[in-house]
């Protein structure tokens, strides 16, 4: 506090007037990665949503006459060795991926954010204890945790969601703790305390609003991780049990016919890749748009 700081040129009182509120919140849609990422993700979301109302065929519809056919007008993405329509499978798989992804991220945030905030706000002893727990969970591979849970409780969607959620929550807790600790050392938190603000109010009024952009970016990345984890679990037969379709199981089932029908492997693989690349681009774009530092710099440049 007692270090004298050189202020920037904008300290001249007369020059600085409040900018018109019309120009204040500039839309940040100039970030290309945000646009591309959102477009990719929206495609997947649209597939998932449309599948709730309509799909080319019913899930259990088989066409024995047209097995392992390539993409055609009747079967947009071909059929597998049982003659099931692959496009239907892809659409319903998107639904599973999105649902498990969202639910896992929700679980991760419900566990991770309070834990991280607790570590940042409480004393050194609690903080060290939480850090130790986080390190242990991070060191423990998510897939191994999932296998463990599956052997105990049997494969189900709920087990997959909790396993992925717990695995991801450690990262979330770590990031929350680091970002919140940084906010706690800021002068404005000290200033709030000099006004008599209690620790809970400081969390709600100052810490959360200042870290939520970081957390939102983390949520998009966590969604990507969750989608990959779900595909891996299903590929290994540990994820959502049949008949619910999943991209991971489509990959696994198509493996034996790969030389005859390579598109059956390619399409679900591409679907996973598109989703993950999409959320990562979206995360990058959001970071650019939401980061207060970058935002301020951009606004300063606009002046």
């Amino acid at each position: 506090m007692s270090t004298p700081m050189v202020e920037t040129a904008e300290t001249v009182e007369a020059a600085g007037t409040v900018k018109a509120s019309g120009t204040r919140r500039r839309p940040g849609w100039r970030s290309p990665s945000l646009v591309v990422g959102a477009a990719l993700l929206l495609t997947v979301l649209a597939l998932a949503l449309v599948s709730l109302l309509w799909s080319p065929y019913a899930l259990d519809h088989t066409d024995p006459a047209a097995r392992l056919t390539g993409p055609s007008a009747r079967h947009w993405a071909g059929t597998d060795r049982l003659g099931r329509d692959q496009f239907t499978q892809l659409m319903l798989g998107a639904r599973t991926a999105v649902w498990i992804g969202l639910a896992s991220v929700a679980v991760a945030f419900v566990i991770g954010v309070p834990l991280g905030l607790l570590a940042a706000a409480a004393g050194r002893f609690v903080e060290n204890a939480v850090i130790a727990v986080i390190d242990i969970v991070i060191a423990f591979p998510t897939l191994l945790l999932a296998m463990l849970l599956v052997t105990v409780y049997g494969p189900s969607t709920a087990v997959a969601i909790s396993a992925i959620g717990i695995g991801v929550s450690a990262e979330v807790a770590r990031l929350t703790r680091i970002s919140a600790s940084r906010v706690f050392t800021q002068d404005y938190v000290l200033a709030a305390r000099t006004c008599g603000t209690g620790p809970l109010m400081i969390l709600v009024r100052h810490v959360l609003p200042n870290i939520w952009p970081t957390l939102l970016v983390q949520a998009t990345l966590a969604f990507g991780v969750a989608v990959i984890a779900e595909a891996s679990l299903s590929y290994l037969g540990l994820g959502t049990p049949p008949p619910a379709p999943s991209w991971g199981r489509m990959l696994q089932e198509a493996q034996s016919t790969m030389s005859v029908a390579p598109w059956n492997v390619l399409l679900p693989g591409i679907a996973v890749a598109v989703t993950v690349v999409g959320v990562n681009l979206l995360g990058d774009g959001l970071r650019e748009v939401l980061d207060p530092q970058l935002r301020q710099e951009r606004r300063a440049a606009d002046r």
């Binding site: 506090m1 004298p4 300290t11 509120s21 204040r24 004393g123 404005y188 006004c195 008599g196």
Partner: protein
């Protein structure tokens, strides 16, 4: 009547004394200047008076607020005092304001906390306060974010925030150091005006003797964590007893002599 009194205040970090045996009292309408170089323990003393030292630092002595010893009191007891009896304004007004919260809400925060005002009443009071610290167009300005204001405007906001709950003691910790000279003069004028209006007791901390001399009536000189001299401003300026105070006065005099042709140093 003395509102805030400290006697024998000592702050140590790992056995190393940082502030040693500091005693003084502040009553309503007092204007005490605390001067000393960087690292002499001025800011630590200020934080100690609000019970905001880091937990690793140990304090001893007494801090009486309205006759009640608050040293070592639980945080809950301190929270009732902070902002309501004793307030503080910091040096750097940009970092002392939450970058993502409109300034109006930041001024309204303590009002809602201590006076239980609802959102709209608190906002109305925040606008009033913006007016009192002479911010332009208060009704619109309360919705601005800190980085949209100039440095001087931000410090005005910080002053409004500190005074919003009508504290009886205001600690100003180098409030003008981060501002350029013309803005500094405006803030000092405003501070003077607000003190006269509200009757708040002032502890003005600075390393700049001419600035302190212009605001304060009493002077405390601090060096290496100890009070080396205290007394009315005129006495310290005319007859400095300690070697350090003599140095301060001599260097300030040099600056004033240099500035005399334009009379910039004293125009306040």
């Amino acid at each position: 009547m003395t509102i805030l009194e400290t006697s024998g205040l000592t702050i140590t970090l790992g056995g190393q004394p940082l502030v040693h045996d500091v005693s003084f009292g502040l009553a309503a309408r007092d204007r005490i200047g605390l001067i000393g170089e960087s690292g002499s323990g001025k800011s630590l003393t200020a934080l100690a008076l609000l019970g905001l030292l880091p937990p690793s630092m140990r304090t001893s002595g007494r801090i009486l607020i309205d006759g009640e010893d608050h040293l070592g009191a639980p945080d809950r007891q301190w929270r009732r005092v902070r902002g309501r009896t004793v307030s503080i304004v910091f040096q750097e007004p940009l970092t002392a304001l939450d970058p993502l919260m409109p300034v109006g809400r930041q001024i309204a925060g303590p009002l809602r906390l201590h006076q239980g005002l609802n959102r709209s009443d608190a906002e109305r009071r925040a606008i009033e306060w913006c007016d009192r610290v002479h911010l332009p167009d208060p009704a619109r300005l309360v919705r601005a974010l800190p980085h949209e204001l100039s440095g001087g405007q931000r410090q005005r906001v910080a002053l409004a925030m500190a005074l919003a709950c009508r504290p009886r003691i205001l600690i100003a910790d180098e409030p003008t150091t981060a501002l350029d000279v013309t803005v500094q003069a405006q803030i000092l004028t405003l501070l003077d005006e607000l003190i006269e209006e509200t009757g708040v007791g002032l502890l003005f901390i600075s390393h700049d003797l001419p600035v302190v001399a212009g605001v304060a009536r009493q002077l405390l000189v601090m060096r290496d964590g100890r009070l080396v001299e205290s007394g009315p401003v005129e006495d310290v300026l005319r007859r400095p007893r300690s070697g350090y105070a003599r140095q301060l006065v001599a260097s300030a005099a040099t600056v004033t002599r240099l500035a005399r042709p334009g009379r910039r140093g004293e125009d306040r």
